[in-house]
Symmetry: C2
């Protein structure tokens, strides 16, 4: 059921990244229906467990041991419910997955090397092997992912960010996606393309957590809690990064920075606990597998401890930081450019969409051709895998020593950087440039892949380049007092890696990740400085890679407030709110409801006490209102009316009988006509439409938007039931045919229209309607900054702006997004009265003091009330007025 493809948030498969088209409201409706269905099932489970409890009172003697067993079982189950057991299981499982994936990737890469090595006699065969292998793997990965679960494509961090924001993307956390992601990722990385495993691992860990909590909810009721699941997902993100890099602290911080807007400190320990356990197991597996002697860092460096760097080298580190900032912004821009370019080229896009596996194959072919070691690859260390290049780049020896020895003896993998004809600087530059666009291109392939690791390696290469230049420039180091401390280019590589990956992801915690990856923290200050500078530059130029993908994928997410945009503090809700709010009143008639539903497209409508008082009582979903209206105008009710009328008439006069042949034919016509419209809109007519399977309801919006083939009323008198039924996708006929009814539906269209007119004039009965009684409220003076905070804190979709209970406007995510993205900031800022800033000095959340406005608003309210209530004291009222 939950794995139905129709359940997907109308995920549109595009060439590279997918796109979302379904509105959230419709999805929420679906979800509610599903949950209600599940509710019944769960109830039956609970009843079953209750029957077990009754065992105790069942039999006297023989049941004693059974009771004991049941109790033990209960105790164990209650223990199983504890957070830490969940986290340990999650950590353990993720460590195993990470290790197995790493192992499989290593084998894949080894196989490629072995093939390439075995064919050394023939360059062409060698090339064929070098190229075919990754193409096959990537194509398989892309195909497998697309068949099994297209949601597994890409990094997963943007989606997790959206999910942790409160938006339910349920199809992202299914078992199918898990399988597709793990296998797809293994194949993709095994191909040797410049892709990373970090983003996907965040997603995989979240999948694990979701599946695990689903599994554990079979034991107890705790796992059903929504907020707890969100907490566990946040911890899972940390586990994902933690077990990928064996970096628990960096993992926690990175996952917080990347996925959260507001972070609950009480969840902190969960992330640390799970990530530490996971990283521990991950490294222990390596020890047990005899890969390592003991638990150490993944890319251990051996820089000298006593004098890691000189104070005068700091400008070079700062340069790395600033350049990385520009580079990071460029990377994000390039990545988006590629996606947008191919999306825009309609013909290419169409062609590639038809042959979906062609694009991945072509990209892989291009990249692997260029890295072919005997070909161009020899100038850019194409022989090395990502891991090998990183290890060599972080080497603590210097490659280029001016003066002493040009030809440093490169041992092992470092040899790949040494070319007989070309300088090591040229190799590095070529490596950086080629890998840069290759990574940007490769991450657009629709396979599970991340961009963190490729960027990290490019950053390390850039740092190394600067470091080697510095070492060539100052062969004896910069330090002037006695001892010679040569420059360590490996340290520069560390700084560059942290800076570039920080710039691309807009995070500071890459600094911590780099320390945990290298096992050395001696370069902490240069790294911090470079990362902060890189972030400063990159954040002012481009969104982060994940935000960029969120925009490409059109995920429902609220952008961040930028770096210190002060004007944001001066925009008020009243500047951005929509004043013309669609609302319904408690005593409105169905006609009003109908008019409101016809004109607006909002997902929820405000419920007011009356249009005079404008007092906000709550909000109702549009769907609920549509159900109300369709119930009122539906065939069942009309038949009931007919039945009543027939009974009444039968009693009074039983002489005339209408054979109704003409009406009958008309009815058939009508039916046919309705059945035609059914194909487009087969909305059920039950009072709670969400109870039914809702696949066609997804198309509702197109129906509300009046498709041209259905004639629409032009005058208000023309609200005929047929139109209404089309509008609200009601098809009573098809349903009614199954019912056994005793009255013939012998009404003419005119009669129906008349009856409907009468029905529309009735007052609305909100009895069976679900109302949100406390929609979030803001006041006009709430600043944009505060509004953004509240929206992101509480995961709001819209908020009503009220003034002493009176509705005066509404702000939705859209307005907020617009305001933040600047369209309002330029033209919308009003000149504030001199004391406006003073009004902000209140401390509590939504209760900023805005006396002036309220005074007048209240005045009106009070006047209204005074006029309604009887004046009690005429004697005092005279002096009362004077004192005002």
């Amino acid at each position: 059921m939950a794995r139905d493809d129709q359940r997907a948030l109308q995920y549109e498969q595009t060439l590279m990244y997918g796109r979302y088209t379904q509105e959230l409201g419709a999805y929420a409706k679906e979800e509610a229906a599903r949950l209600r269905e599940e509710g019944g099932w769960r109830r039956s489970v609970k009843e079953r467990s209750r029957s077990l409890e009754l065992l105790e009172y069942d039999r006297g003697r023989c049941a004693k041991c059974r009771i004991c067993t049941v109790r033990c079982q209960k105790f164990l189950i209650s223990r199983v419910g504890e957070d830490w057991i969940f986290l340990i299981l999650l950590g353990l499982f993720m460590a195993l997955v990470s290790w197995v994936v790493d192992f499989a990737i290593a084998i894949c890469l080894q196989a490629q090397k072995w093939m390439y090595g075995g064919l050394e006699s023939n360059v062409f065969l060698q090339y064929l092997a070098w190229v075919t292998y990754p193409v096959v793997l990537i194509t398989f990965s892309a195909g497998f992912t697309q068949i099994l679960a297209p949601q597994a494509v890409g990094s997963g961090i943007p989606e997790m960010k959206t999910i942790l924001r409160g938006v339910v993307l349920k199809e992202y956390l299914t078992f199918k996606t898990f399988v597709a992601k793990v296998i797809g990722l293994t194949c993709a990385l095994g191909s040797g393309m410049p892709l990373g495993k970090e983003g996907p691992f965040v997603h995989i860990a979240s999948l694990c957590a979701a599946l695990l909590s689903k599994f554990m909810s079979l034991f107890g009721g705790i796992y059903e809690n929504e907020s707890r699941n969100i907490e566990m997902l946040a911890a899972a993100c940390a586990v994902g990064v933690g077990c990928c890099f064996a970096a628990p602290i960096g993992g926690v911080l990175f996952s917080i920075e990347v996925t959260s807007t507001f972070f609950a400190v009480r969840n902190y320990w969960r992330g640390f606990f799970a990530a530490t356990f996971s990283a521990f197991i991950f490294r222990v597996l390596a020890v047990w597998n005899r890969d390592e002697e003991t638990i150490t860092a993944l890319f251990k460096t051996r820089f000298r401890l006593d004098f890691p760097f000189d104070l005068q080298e700091l400008p070079a580190f700062a340069v790395i930081g600033i350049a990385s900032g520009f580079g990071g912004a460029l990377f994000v821009y390039l990545n988006r450019l590629i996606v947008q370019f191919i999306r825009k080229q309609k013909t290419i896009n169409k062609f590639l969409m038809k042959k979906r596996l062609l694009y991945p194959a072509l990209v892989t072919l291009l990249v692997s051709t260029l890295t072919f070691p005997p070909g161009f690859g020899q100038f850019m260390a194409g022989k090395l895998t990502q891991k090998e290049s990183l290890v060599t780049l972080l080497d603590n020896r210097t490659w280029a020593k001016q003066g002493i020895a040009e030809g440093f003896d490169y041992i092992g993998n470092s040899q790949a950087w040494n070319h007989t004809q070309v300088n090591v600087f040229v190799t590095l530059v070529l490596f950086i440039v080629m890998k840069f666009w290759m990574s940007a291109l490769a991450t657009t392939i629709p396979v599970p892949c991340g961009a963190f690791m490729p960027v990290f390696v490019i950053g390390a290469a850039f740092g190394r380049l600067v470091g080697e230049s510095m070492a060539a420039w100052f062969p004896d180091g910069i330090h002037s007092d006695g001892t010679i401390y040569p420059i360590v280019p490996g340290g520069y590589a560390v700084v560059g890696a942290a800076a570039l990956s920080g710039a691309v992801t807009h995070t500071v915690s890459t600094a911590v990740i780099v320390f945990e990856l290298t096992g050395q923290i001696s370069h902490i200050l240069p790294v911090m400085i470079a990362v902060i500078l890189a972030n400063a530059v990159a954040q002012s130029l481009q969104p982060s890679l994940y935000d960029s993908i969120i925009r490409i994928k059109k995920l429902p997410y609220l952008p961040e407030l930028g770096w210190g945009h002060h004007e944001k503090y001066n925009i008020r809700v009243e500047d951005i709110m929509i004043r013309d709010v669609m609302y319904i009143t408690l005593n409105c008639c169905y006609r009003d409801l109908h008019d409101v539903l016809l004109t607006g497209h909002l997902k929820t409508l405000a419920l007011l006490e009356s249009s005079e008082s404008m007092i906000l009582l709550g909000s109702i979903e549009r769907v609920q209102l549509q159900a109300l209206l369709s119930l009122q105008l539906g065939r069942p009710r009309r038949l009931e009316y007919l039945r009543d009328r027939a009974t009444a008439e039968k009693k009074r006069l039983s002489m005339v009988s209408h054979p109704g042949s003409e009406d009958g034919s008309q009815r058939v016509n009508q039916e046919v006509r309705f059945q035609i419209s059914t194909e487009e809109s087969s909305f059920s007519s039950t009072p709670t439409p969400s109870m039914k399977p809702l696949k066609p309801a997804l198309k509702r919006s197109s129906v509300v938007d009046r498709p041209p083939d259905i004639p629409m009323p032009t005058s208000p008198q023309d609200h005929s039931g047929n139109t209404l039924k089309n509008l609200f996708c009601v098809n009573p006929e098809t349903e009614g045919l199954e019912d056994d009814f005793d009255v013939d539906d012998d009404m003419t269209i005119r009669e129906i229209a008349e009856w409907e007119e009468n029905q529309l004039d009735e007052q609305v009965n909100f009895d069976n309607c679900k109302i949100d009684p406390a929609p979030f409220q803001l006041v006009e003076r709430t600043s944009l900054h505060k509004t953004h905070t509240i929206f992101s804190l509480l995961g709001l979709d819209h908020a009503y702006v009220t003034s002493i209970g009176r509705l005066i406007g509404v702000v939705s995510l859209k307005e907020l997004r617009k305001a933040i993205e600047g369209s309002v900031a330029v033209k919308g800022v009003k000149v504030r009265p001199p004391l406006s800033s003073f009004r902000d000095s209140g401390t509590s959340g939504s209760s900023s003091s805005n006396s002036e406005n309220e005074a007048t608003e209240l005045h009106k309210l009070w006047d209204r009330h005074k006029s309604m209530s009887l004046p009690r004291e005429h004697l005092a009222s005279d002096s009362d007025e004077k004192s005002q």
Copy 2:
């Protein structure tokens, strides 16, 4: 003005920690008054700046360069407003402060050593010098702090936690406190007592930020924003830790864990930026001062990189973690026990309160006597300062090698640990035990001091003890494959330090601090495991040290939800809310207002539309209502009434004249009587009482609580104005005497009472009343967990529980605190209906779907409305009812 002692949140100076007695509401009122006063001043400043702008249109030629200057100035000022400039200034300033304080402390400690060393000939003189020096310094510190700013006492982290929670403790952020804290801290640490500088530095950094933003608000309007100031304070806390330990990352994380409940990720960079800059400058100063050769860690270790520890050592690390957890809890308990013991002993307390400096002196005497090196101090390395002991404890050499050489050659400070008669293990055990209670005792001294560093050192000693034992047990290391890797006890010390300090403060980020302090991250996994275990143990036994102090000081703070208490998910707001809400209605008369004010003590009252509809319109502060009532019954209005009556009477009949001698004498009596009551309550009678200097208003609560000497009404008929005036502290006579009025107040008491009765029957005019139009609302089904989240997210004080606009209850911090602390959890949990968990499945914050309840509630509402509105269609209503 702001430095007035009366402005303090009624801080009660007690022996060790202070206590807060004032209610927040009263303080908020005061603040509002002050801000309004400032408002006027600020407006004048703005007007002045506007006049500068007008210069441009002033003169033609000569003013050109002046305009240019003004523009340049403006540009500079606008730049000054940027966040990063603020943060750089803050970081720079704090680094300087930290360095200067460190320098001064080092000089102080050197002076003591020098004195002690110079008097080696005479042990008694030596003892005198050793003891007198710290006693004098501590006494001076305590005296200085108490005279200048008693708020500077203690750590400051609990207060910062409270401030960041949204509670304004303004007297904590004044210049006086800054001076007192810096000088007090220097002296206290210079005495060599086991005290830390970390907590106070968090406070000092926050002080700096507050003062700096006050200073910079002179340039522009940005710094006036409240939420921005909170953001800056959060960054300042990070700077405090960062520049204290030169640990930017650990500083940011520690400050987040210690001060925040919810952390805005967008503030993250601020903390990192400022803390990095600050740590950088702090270390650069050391390089410039030739203390260091280059920028390195504060307590640099030199453990081997290639094999930091063996996998089989992990159980020992886990033992350190668990033991540290118990130790940390014990430390917190001991600290609280000492405070409570001395508070309970009335006689001791009284005596010590009189001679305030005696307690610090006595404690210092005791501690320094015990550490006297030739005395007991020789068995516990009493000679070493805190810093020296930490350095020696983190030494990478092993002290006790079994078998090879019992007497390891201790060089330098390590010699202090070596005693000719006693084993090094005994020295360590004695050091741990003695320092443990000494630190717990010393942190209760009323001087600016933290507990982090002493605990850190004790933890390091404990770790060292375990490490040395391990080294003695396995002299050749545990590793079995070929190479011998001896055990590194220094690594154990690192683990122990992180674990114990983590346990005491309930933080995980001590792990990061320890890496940054030592400059090595190789022990990351043992440290993480130990810290997490220590936290798990400590958090289940005791609150953190800071939370414990918050309770001791009675700061207004919301406790955290504990580790995975699942039952918290099942408590609903309806289980804990107060159903009997005090409210006023929009059309109520003054008598209702009076009754409500008489019966309740709530700070804010709900404003409803009417008592039938119960629709919540907003909330009004009690003070506002009191002002309304006193305005209505005040003398000015009565005089006006008299004047009106006199005019009317004069017109109609101008024949009788009352000399009113009897009334006059009665009036005098009355005045005297009022003046007596004035001494107790001299509340001003203006419509906005908060406009006046409000010192006496602090005593308001005692007046409302009906002091016995004022007779209270027993029957509802007895609401005489005199009582009212006493109740609301109105003293119109004393004010009225200054006024020039043309009518004699010749009313008898009976007449006044009658007039007041009439006045009370008038309808309340809310025109000039400040109303919060959007108080926070919850629904009955909101879970405790969600409520806690919302309260801590938005810093709420209370929230109304509504059902479709109708007020049905109220929840305040008190109820929430009670519920969290368990009194409700035990008895208050109701048996939930089977589908109750389903209701939670909604995603948005306060809009959990609770259909059943609303349906019935709405039904009532709707019935009411239906009965009021005219039935339009009788024909259809029949079928309507049937279908329900």
